[in-house]
């Protein structure tokens, strides 16, 4: 377990991290999110003892990183932003060195190195010089290094940065496996990745903690409205009269009529679940609901909200979603953007495509694509508003 208490790090007059506190529970995968320069690496460096905080402390399994560094560091494997590799060594030599340095028992070293090489898939590269390995393999060697000694906690700083889509997917799988029996903290600004593998996310922006919760809770508390898209075998008039009779509906519109089917969009507060109510309301007048879809915000919309300059002032923004009313409109647009990317379907080597959430994993929030290309104009407008995050959010 990691306890981060009131962490502050100043570089001269510049404050990189300001009063961050959070707790990392054992056995879970945590996503550490934030735009570039938010203080992710600084925080990770402090947790692993590579940097000392200006104020505050970090406890790992009850040991202070500053006062009992050896005990604390023994529990942690760390992959910094730049994998700390010695180019003149082979992966095998390098991992043996790390194993020895971490104090793995002499008779266990060979076995340990063999096991880690197998699970990171670098066994075939064991006798090549690290210098001559591809970026993906270097990253794997870096992750292998963090896994050596079987630490309870593995901290990975942007492990998939700069890799091609295939390599990203492989590293993601590897992290998923890693997280089965230990705590993993993973920093990233590739959101779909975090959404896919992490159970909890910690969001920081401008050196401050803006959210720390499960993926579901964060999306729930921040969500403004849920949009339900509905197709009913009924006339538009019938649909209108039924929906207007349902409590909690904020607004609705008839999208299209096609013969006997009518499609409508309903907006309601995120605290409600109107799926049942709507279904029963239509069955009361003996009309069949043909399809029903719920649009939820994807993580990147939430992330944008949390880290946008307007929202960062409130450290507990996660709990008080209502304040961010001005962002409400943006949300929908940003989401549309995601689906545009989706429909393009081209998997270029561009982080933007990744954020598009081309694959939704088990950890995803189960979004459904109901509209899309119609609002491209708006999407582009959003992009230009994106400010700092433009490259992240598919600035085309």
């Amino acid at each position: 377990m990691i306890e981060v208490r009131h962490l502050t790090k100043k570089y001269g007059k510049h404050t990189a991290v300001e009063d961050i506190s959070f707790t990392v529970e054992p056995g879970k995968i945590y996503g550490f999110l934030g735009p570039n320069g938010a203080g992710k690496s600084t925080t990770m460096n402090i947790i692993t003892g590579c940097l000392a905080p200006t104020e505050g402390e970090v406890l790992i399994d009850g040991h202070s990183v500053l006062d009992e560094p050896i005990e604390a560091k023994r529990a942690v494997g760390y992959l910094p932003e730049v994998p700390p590799l010695y180019p003149e060594m082979t992966p095998e030599e390098y991992l043996r060195f790390v194993a020895e340095a971490k104090g793995v028992r002499r008779d266990m070293i060979a076995e340990e190195v063999e096991g880690v090489m197998a699970s990171t898939g670098i066994t075939d590269m064991r006798r090549r010089l690290i210098r001559s390995l591809s970026k993906g393999y270097k990253q794997r060697v870096g992750i292998a290094q963090a896994m050596i000694g079987d630490p309870d906690i593995v901290i990975l700083d942007e492990p998939t940065e700069g890799l091609d889509p295939q390599q990203r997917a492989e590293i993601r799988d590897l992290i998923g496996t890693l997280g089965k029996d230990r705590t993993v903290i993973l920093s990233s600004h590739v959101l779909s990745e975090v959404q896919e593998i992490c159970e909890n996310i910690i969001v920081i922006s401008h050196g401050k903690l803006v959210a720390d919760d499960t993926v579901e809770n964060i999306s729930r508390s921040l969500r403004q409205d849920i949009t339900m898209t509905l197709t009913v075998m009924a006339t538009p008039e019938e649909v209108e009269s039924v929906i207007s009779g349902i409590e909690g509906v904020k607004s609705f519109s008839i999208v299209s009529t096609n013969g006997s089917e009518t499609s409508a969009k309903i907006k309601y507060g995120s605290e409600l679940d109107l799926r049942e109510t709507v279904t029963f309301a239509f069955s009361d007048i003996r009309r069949a609901v043909v399809s029903m879809g719920i649009e939820e915000e994807s993580l990147e919309d939430i992330f944008l909200k949390l880290t946008s300059d307007g929202a960062d002032a409130s450290p507990d923004g996660a709990g008080t979603g209502g304040e961010d009313a001005e962002d409400a409109e943006d949300t929908e647009d940003a989401e549309d953007e995601e689906y545009d990317e989706d429909e393009d379907g081209d998997l270029k080597y561009d982080p933007a495509d990744y954020i598009g959430g081309t694959d939704s994993g088990p950890g995803g929030t189960g979004t459904e694509d109901t509209e899309g290309a119609e609002e491209i104009g708006k999407t582009e407008e959003k992009n230009s508003d994106g400010g700092d995050y433009k490259p992240l959010f598919g600035g085309k």
């Binding site: 560091k73 180019p87 003149e88 340095a101 971490k102």
Partner: protein, 295 residues
């Protein structure tokens, strides 16, 4: 600690650098020994080692050996691995230091064969004295150990290894000519006072460089200056020739070249002097690396 030591040794010996450095040392010393002991027929092996000209090879080669030690780790970010390992900083520093000493010990041991070879034939002026020869070789190794510590400290200050090498070489040359420099200072007490206040200011600058705290720098400079002024007015006589004599006390090379090694006597004081010197710089390297966490 052993892991870091072994890795360091390996990294010197897998590439060509380690071998080139050892070869240069052996070639240079070998040349002087051949010139004076074989060709010249002198039985005084210690004189060949002490010959000031042969020293220049060490002034240059030691910075080349030490420059990588910390600067390179910092540049390639492997420093973060070392800092995140469950090893204390002083063990990391010592492991690196001993690795470099090992690299230097190899040619020193080979040089140790020279007196044996020379003893096979008596020279024109008599036979070789083993005690004197090995004593001077031992003192040479201690001197190189001090230089290595200074070079390692320089490497821990910067990220660029060339800069680290230049700092170390600059310091060595300054020390090499220290007796000359110290003789240029008049013995006047006021000169010593001014020079020492300037040193206090320089120390303040170093403190600022390491901590980035202007308060700490001011406290160091101000505090030391104040003490110096008070001492000056209490006991002016004490300042008579103080600075020149302080300068000569850091004349690392003079101690070797004009001391026991030359005379062929075993001097425990000189050994303690070198060991203290080396320990101070190893300690300062630990502090410098440790400081990095705070900046």
């Amino acid at each position: 600690m052993l892991a870091v030591y072994k890795r360091e040794i390996k990294s010197y010996l897998t590439g060509i650098t380690g071998y080139v450095m050892m070869a240069v040392i052996l070639a240079f010393v070998g040349f002087f020994v051949t010139f004076s002991n074989v060709y010249g027929g002198s039985p005084k092996f210690n004189y060949s080692l002490i010959t000031s000209v042969s020293f220049f090879v060490f002034l240059i080669i030691i910075p080349f050996i030490t420059m990588r030690s910390f600067a390179e780790e910092r540049r390639s970010k492997t420093e973060q691995l070392l800092l995140s390992l469950p090893i204390t900083t002083h063990r990391i520093v010592l492991a690196k230091y001993f690795a470099m000493l090992t690299l230097i010990a190899i040619p020193t041991l080979i040089i140790g064969l020279y007196p044996l070879i020379l003893s096979l034939s008596s020279g024109a002026e008599g036979v070789i004295n083993f005690a004197v020869s090995y004593n001077s070789l031992f003192m040479l190794f201690l001197l190189l150990a001090v230089m290595t510590a200074i070079g390692m400290f320089a490497s821990s200050l910067v990220e660029n290894q060339i800069v680290a090498a230049l700092i170390a070489a600059g310091a060595f040359f300054l020390m090499f000519f220290m007796s000359m420099i110290s003789s240029m200072f008049p013995s006047d007490p006021i000169v010593s006072l001014i020079a020492l206040v300037v040193c206090a200011a320089a120390l303040g600058a170093v403190v600022y460089g390491m901590t980035r705290s202007s308060t700490a720098a001011c406290v160091v400079t101000g505090g030391l200056s104040l003490i110096l002024f008070v001492m000056y007015f209490v006991d002016t006589a004490m300042f008579w020739g103080l600075f020149p004599s302080l300068l000569s006390s850091v004349a690392l090379f003079d101690v070797y070249m004009n001391g026991a090694s030359l005379l062929g006597v075993f001097d425990i004081g000189e050994i303690i002097y070198y060991l203290t010197f080396a320990a101070v710089f190893v300690f300062m390297t630990v502090e410098s690396v440790e400081r990095r966490r705070y900046n």
